[in-house]
């Protein structure tokens, strides 16, 4: 995403705005404050750059059913961060942690305007469409502007050698096609959560794939595993990013920065530490939290003095869903194969105890009588989904119907510029000619190259003792301003 020039950030498309946007009926100063004057300084005195910084005051009079909830939503409060950090710390450190968050976290919090009027501050801000309010925020300029290193890279296929998510490649689905507005706004039933995994599971795969889940689906693997044993990602995700040690600091000029020394892509199955009726799975995908005990040491000693109060490997929902994956290719790729499980040898010794609820002692063996069952099954497919580009070898066609083309509904994302003019049955590869979307024009191979068997199964899985084998994801300097 190229930076928006300073003038463009405040340029209003008056013709479109006044004709097509109901908000134009409200005077500028009614929301932004300031003074009506041709003198710039006078006009801007007391002006609010973002009236929705207080959602209730800014938007609540016309949107009373949304604004109060949005004001308390995770997007607005970033309470999920607090929940995790506080559990690893103690109350004496909360104030210092809050100061740290002010510099390093809070510019990702999202006001109403950060999604519906402008880009988030974390990517420099700037009006989306000349101050015309956008009902459905464009994924590329809003959602993935903040959810960058993990969700964006996984979903778009920007991690080298790992294809993008099938929902993007085959169906061109945007974030809001699965994540509802109630979820985004923190409306019931998403209004009580202190962390994203506290809330009801949303979206669920069942919402769209109801007849393909569990017993009665007619899919042998689903029939065998049922609905409570595995999260869908266990079989249908591929390698995803793991970081271990993000450290933050500020320069002498007070400019915040971070550094991540160790990161790698891998795929690991762990135990679900908190099985609920909503997430009953015994096994889920897990990834390492991006912090270590010294991540915030620039702000004070021992700020995470209870660092091991939570597992350092946590429930993960990778956004690189595939129909065919290495682990789903044959039964023996999971059963009896420790490489894909978070076994004790993959956890740093100091973190072993904290991760006991997540660690899998050994890969599950086959249940008794499996030989007879296997004998009744057709031979597995020869190759998993590897080449994402064009969707030709993904094996996803059956999943999406006859041709994998997106329906009109599925492409209603508000990202019109991104999807291009012709959305019918378009190639599933990286959309061409949309550099503003893709930032630094990702290497085509990064979205298409197959995931090699060796890198997946072999030595590049999570290292013991925190010794990571780095497989650097595609850089996104444009996004991070680097």
């Amino acid at each position: 995403m190229p930076p928006v020039e300073a003038w463009e950030r405040v340029y209003i498309d008056a013709e479109t705005y006044t004709v097509s946007d109901v908000h134009a009926y409200i005077g500028c100063t009614a929301c932004h404050g300031g003074t009506t004057s041709y003198n710039m300084d006078e006009a801007h005195t007391g002006m609010l750059e973002d009236p929705s910084a207080d959602p209730v005051a800014g938007c609540g009079s016309c949107h009373p059913d949304i604004a109060p909830y949005a004001a308390e939503s995770l997007h607005m409060t970033l309470e999920g961060y607090d929940t995790a950090l506080h559990q690893r710390s103690d109350p004496a450190n909360y104030e210092t942690l809050e100061q740290m968050e002010t510099y390093h976290c809070n510019n990702c919090h999202a006001t109403c305007g950060d999604c519906h009027v402008s880009q988030p501050d974390s990517v420099g801000g700037g009006l989306l469409e000349g101050h015309v309010f956008v009902e459905t925020p464009p994924m590329s300029q809003t959602c993935t502007a903040c959810h960058g290193s993990r969700v964006k890279n996984e979903y778009y296929g920007l991690n080298e050698g790992i294809p993008g998510d099938v929902h993007l490649r085959e169906a061109r689905m945007a974030c809001v096609d699965c994540h509802t507005d109630a979820e985004m706004h923190g409306q019931p039933p998403f209004d009580q959560e202190a962390h994203r995994y506290d809330a009801p599971q949303s979206p669920t795969c069942e919402s769209c794939h109801e007849d393909q889940i569990g017993v009665g689906s007619g899919i042998p693997e689903h029939e065998v595993h049922g609905t409570d044993l595995l999260s869908c990602q266990v079989c249908h995700s591929t390698d995803y990013t793991n970081c271990t040690n993000c450290h933050v600091d500020r320069t002498e000029d007070d400019v915040p920065y971070y550094s991540v020394e160790e990161h790698w892509t891998t795929f690991l199955i762990g135990q679900n530490p908190d099985r609920t009726t909503d997430r009953p799975y015994k096994y889920v995908t897990v990834r390492h939290v991006p912090v270590d005990i010294d991540s915030f040491s620039a702000y004070g000693d021992d700020l995470l003095n209870n660092f091991l109060n939570r597992p350092t490997w946590s429930y993960a929902t990778p956004h690189n869903t595939q129909l065919d994956t290495q682990q789903a290719l044959t039964c023996t790729n999971c059963h009896g194969n420790d490489d894909v499980f978070l076994t004790p040898d993959k956890v740093a010794p100091a973190e072993l105890e904290a991760n006991l609820p997540v660690i899998v002692e050994a890969a599950p063996a086959f249940p008794e009588g499996y030989e007879d069952y296997l004998a009744t099954q057709e031979p597995a497919a020869e190759t998993p989904a590897e080449g994402a580009s064009g969707g030709e070898t993904s094996g996803d066609a059956g999943f999406w119907g006859s041709d994998g083309s997106a329906t009109e509904d599925e492409t209603e994302s508000g990202d019109a510029g991104f999807w291009g003019a012709d959305e019918s049955n378009a190639p599933a590869e990286t959309p061409a000619g949309d550099e503003s979307f893709w930032g630094d024009a990702p290497d085509a191979e990064s979205t298409a190259a197959p995931s090699g068997d060796e890198s997946f199964w072999g030595s590049e899985s999570a290292p013991a003792g925190g010794e990571a084998v780095a497989t650097p994801p595609a850089t996104d300097a444009d996004f991070w301003g680097g």
Binding site: E5, S149, N153
Partner: protein, 104 residues
């Protein structure tokens, strides 16, 4: 022959009489004559057109604000829709070189 035909004849006549009685009991679904006063009032309303002031359950001030050209907008938009002026006045932020490294 005549003896066997007679019950059938009486049965048919009886059925016709019952049907006639039932149809006589059905409600009258025909439209009533319009009340002349109501008809005149409807004609008067149609000819008069909509009322001069909008009927709305919102404060009068709000209705007036929406119906009146907004001078605030005009003054703000004069500058903020003028690309040339904005370019002239824009102060480009001096982006400090980021020291960040690794996936963010």
């Amino acid at each position: 022959m005549q003896k066997s035909f007679r019950p059938l004849l009486w049965g048919t006549v009886g059925g016709l009489l019952i049907l006639a009685a039932l149809s006589g009991c059905s409600p009258d679904t025909s439209a009533p004559d319009l009340n002349q006063d109501a008809r005149d009032e409807r004609i008067r309303q149609t000819q008069a057109g909509p009322p001069a002031t909008p009927i709305a359950l919102v404060p009068e001030a709000t209705v007036l604000a929406m119906a009146t050209p907004n001078t605030t907008d005009a003054i703000c938009l004069d500058c903020h829709s003028n690309e040339e002026l904005l370019r002239e006045l824009a102060v480009e932020d001096e982006e400090p070189e980021s020291l960040s490294s690794g996936p963010g």
